[in-house]
Amino acid sequence: MNIEGYEFPEGLHYDKNHFWARVEGDLVVMGMNDYAQKMAGSIVYVGLPPEGKKLVQGKSFTKIESGKWLGKVFSVVSGELVAVNEELERKAKLINEDCYGKGWMFKIKPDNMEELKNLMTEPAVIQEWLKAEIAEHSKK
């Protein structure tokens, strides 16, 4: 779905830290949403922690940078980091080019898939939340 010019594909889970989650077998794949990648500008760096790192839903575990901005990456679920998108090491701007596809960031083995229920999936809910985010950001 397109919300105010930003793509938010259906079938994904979205958190309020601007990351998306997709179930892939027994793993959860995560990345940055379209609104966030546009606001960030051209992304030049994503920290890629070692596999095996323990993650907690809603807690930051690495950093992401564009030329002008430094942000935190928050985990979409609690679990173990099992894979990173190594393409991002030399080409972090894949996140700008294809944030839901080739620009995926991390794969996590969740402790409990039920945690995904804490994320947003309903289009109306996502729309209301994003509009509020856009309004908040435009005040700055």
């Binding site: 051209s42 030049v44 030329g67 002008k68 430094l70």
Partner: protein, 368 residues
Amino acid sequence: MSTQLQLDEKRRKAITQCSRCGFCRAVCPIFDLTKRPITNARGKMILMKEIMEGTVPVTEGVAQALLRCTTCMNCTVNCPSGVDPQEVIKAARKDMVAMGYDNLFKKMGEVVEKYGNIYGEEERHNWGHKKGKAPYALFVGCVGTFREEESVGEAIQLLDLLKVDFTMIDEVCCSGVMEDVGYKIKEELALRNIRELQKTSANTLITTCPYCYRVFKEHPSYKELGLEVKHITQFLKDFDLGVKTLKKVTYHDPCDLGRHAGIYDEPREIIRKIAPNFVEPRRSRENAMCCGSGGGLRGSFPEDSIEISRNRLSQMIEETGAEILLTECPSCLHNFRNAKLRKQKIEIYNITEFIAQLFQEGREKELA
């Protein structure tokens, strides 16, 4: 509004002095990356000569080309004709702005004025250290505060471990960087820093950032400071540190500390005290290759900036086989850490950060 380059006689002479020998190509970090003549000092000198002669018009493309330089001075120290291209390039950047070719750093100037830092952060980290009167005042700068906070924290901890009586201040950006990218230092911010520093009654200002060091020491806006200015390596070189590592260590000379400020020996004196296995890279001191973060390049061409850093890092790893890379500049540190590939096992620190960690390791061993 001017429509021509306003370069003074000295700079015009420098442009015509360029013999186009191309020696600068061998040491230019951007030419090394792009192989495009315009990215190198020789190409820029030719361009500016043709603009001066009226054969090439000033365009947005020219303004952008002039931004693609880290001002590392490697061209300067290797120029057989005695030209200082980076100094001419910085002057030409100001001319571009005067001609109406504002660049992205105009916005940064507005941000610096509004927020007191180059990143637009509303709050500056509170280090929890005293802010009052002391014989030494410590200034940490924007890059350290907002991009390498942990490293700065370790430097502060080190000074405490060494029982240095120092105070910190409510800093704002030294704002010297504006002069390098076509604009002017923010006088009001400079005055605020001077006022805050003078309130400390300190005799000496210690900076962790080589760029801030240069601004405080050299820029006319800080001439009323009244404090001796030292980079932290100058301050620490005579301390008896009492810690050691047996790991193989190498050192990267930051351009702002080395070529620009002439500080080469002090960091090495410190490293030799703590690392008997210190190995110099082939290109070191005046000939050190740039990390890519200076001259505004990290803001204007961030991908180039990180790629240059990657090249320098790979060069140092290959030449030295070091396990530890030390430097003492928050910008170099940040760029290297961004550039490091996962397969590269080298650890990268500022010297002060590394020493603080050695102290910590020593304490943990004692307690164990």
